[in-house]
């Protein structure tokens, strides 16, 4: 598996962890690769507003930090803490968080 595909898997696992921590038990996932990047999208129903949605949105839309990437991306998906969400934010270019009618949808995009 290439480095970029490994990162896609790690990002997906990290977001799955976020959904599971918020007691979302049925998750629809989509991972699509493009010419110069990939998009990861997850969707699931949630009884109450998940914790720290604003923080998540801010994190995944924060500027990329290249210097963290090759050193630390291996930590993604290992424990689902705030530190890993921050790391996820430093690896993706942009993202979108939606919570409408009890459905949480998170999409992140990364180019390389």
């Amino acid at each position: 598996m290439t480095n970029e595909k490994s990162k896609a898997v790690k990002i997906l696992v990290e977001l799955i962890g976020f959904f599971i921590l918020n007691d979302i038990e049925q998750i629809d996932m989509n991972l699509s690769f493009k010419d110069k990047g990939f998009t990861v999208s997850l969707k699931g129903s949630c009884d109450c507003v998940p914790d720290e949605l604003k923080k998540l949105n801010e994190t995944i839309n924060a500027p990329r930090q290249n210097e963290l990437e090759e050193y630390y991306w291996g930590l993604l998906g290992s424990s689902n803490t705030k530190q890993e969400l921050y790391l996820l934010g430093s690896l993706v270019d942009s993202g979108e968080v939606e919570f409408i009618d009890g459905i949480l949808k998170v999409t992140v995009e990364r180019t390389h």
């Binding site: 210097e67 630390y72 991306w73 530190q83 270019d93 979108e96 939606e98 409408i100």
Partner: protein
């Protein structure tokens, strides 16, 4: 029906165009330029202060002695060269790291600040103007081979200079003829640098981010392999402890001046430093905890200065000596005040190491015990994440482990405590996780 909650995706563009993260959070504006200027000012202070201790002629000859020394653990450049030369060496390497960061369009964030201070600190006892560059070059060549931007590997290059003594030891310490030995030392440094990026990323998951000096673990493994090969050819690394004594008064003043200025600058740029610090010390500090991006540059500077005061006072209270390695340790803790360490999470580890030095065979004032205390704070995230009692246990065990792993790499890896910390964290974290889950 739940209230719709939809968030726009334009924040990224805003952040990139006009707003910094700190502005968005309502902090006083600390632009990247200001951060760079402050870091340059600190480095320049260290560089210029070399003239307080020695004249330029002495500094030049001191630098020559430093550069041609094997530099393995523990080589105090205050003794090998002189104090002025060691400060000059430190200041130049810090400024070089800042310049490289700037040229690679990297923000002055927590990990970069930690790296700059770590380079500065270890430039008092192991890193010098000659031995760091082959490792950096090796990482650079790796980035070229991967067709990736060097800034993705910058932290690995900076922290990877822990293997500088490998270059110096092979060049000047194992008895080979000079031109060939230098060529071999440089080649090994470049080769080691080329190997570091994949290893660093691989080993970070070994301790799950609970060992802040991850490169120390990586370089320890790499150094262990290189040393094993050298020993197979009957080439032994002669380690020794060379440390200066009798400079406590002058360096207490020196460090307190530096940390006071950092504290005042941090307070000047803070809105409410107490409140911001209160928020910062709630973070466990586990990798990746960039305090500068998450909490702000100013409060990070306050935190760094407080860590500087705390560690200096610890050394003085236990009766230790402020020499090159110890000041290097203090600088490293200060640097990681922007990247994972704060008073709340390092105190339990310090207490654990101190307790160990009372009960185990090492005295608290010995250089090894003091280095274990200062650099043992690599395990601060354990205290931050699991609680202070666990931090004390980690510190206690770290003391015993760190005294046993140096032989493996023959002193070629300067981050011996990071090497030990990797093992300690990898063993303790699953146990602590298990204990925590049983309590639940």
């Amino acid at each position: 029906m739940n209230k719709p909650l939809v968030m726009a995706r334009s924040l990224k563009q805003q952040a990139l165009s006009t707003l910094t993260l700190e502005e968005r959070k309502g902090f006083l504006i600390v632009t990247e330029d200001i951060k760079y200027i402050i870091m340059i000012a600190i480095s320049t202070f260290i560089l210029a202060s070399s003239l307080i201790f020695n004249n330029p002629y002495e500094i030049l000859f001191g630098l020559r002695d430093i550069i041609f020394s094997p530099s393995v653990l523990v080589s105090d450049y205050f003794v090998i060269g002189n104090i002025g030369a060691a400060l000059f060496n430190s200041g130049v390497l810090m400024l070089s790291a800042i310049y490289i960061s700037y040229k690679n369009n990297v923000n002055m964030n927590g990990p970069i600040m930690a790296a700059v201070f770590t380079i500065g600190g270890f430039s008092f006892f192991g890193k010098n103007l000659l031995n760091v560059w082959p490792v950096v070059l090796g990482v650079f060549i790796y980035s070229l081979a991967r067709k990736e931007n060097f800034n993705k590997y910058l932290l690995i290059a900076f922290f990877g200079t822990a293997l500088g003594p490998m270059v110096s030891q092979v060049s000047f310490g194992i008895g080979l003829n000079a031109p060939y030995s230098i060529a071999l030392g440089v080649f090994l440094g470049v080769f080691a640098g080329f190997l570091l990026p994949p290893l660093a990323n691989h080993f970070v998951s070994f301790h799950q981010g609970f060992n802040l000096y991850n490169i120390g673990f990586t370089c320890g493994i790499a150094g262990m392999f290189f040393m094993a090969i050298l020993r197979a050819f009957n080439l032994e690394s002669n380690t020794s402890v060379i440390v200066a004594e009798g400079f406590n008064s002058v360096f207490t003043i020196y460090l307190f001046v530096l940390f006071t200025v950092m504290l005042l600058v941090g307070i000047f740029f803070s809105v409410d430093s107490f409140k911001e610090l209160g928020r910062l010390i709630k973070q466990p500090g586990r990798l990746v905890s960039d305090f500068v991006s998450a909490e702000g540059f100013s409060v990070s500077l306050v935190n760094m200065s407080l860590l500087g005061f705390l560690t200096t006072i610890y050394v003085l209270l236990v009766g230790g000596e402020l020499n090159g390695p110890i000041i290097g340790g203090i600088f490293t803790v200060v640097g990681f005040g922007a990247f994972g360490k704060h008073i709340k999470n390092i105190l339990p580890v310090l207490a654990g190491v101190f307790l160990a030095s009372l009960l185990q065979i090492w005295t608290p004032t010995s250089t090894g015990a003091l280095l274990a205390a200062l650099f043992g704070t690599t395990l601060a995230p354990i205290a931050g994440f699991y609680g202070w009692k666990y931090g004390v246990i980690a510190g206690f065990i770290h003391m015993a482990v760190v005294m046993n792993v140096g032989y493996l790499h023959g002193g070629m890896n300067l981050y011996n405590n990071g090497f030990s910390g990797g093992f300690v964290a990898a063993v303790l974290v699953p146990i602590f996780d298990s204990l925590k889950s049983m309590k639940k």
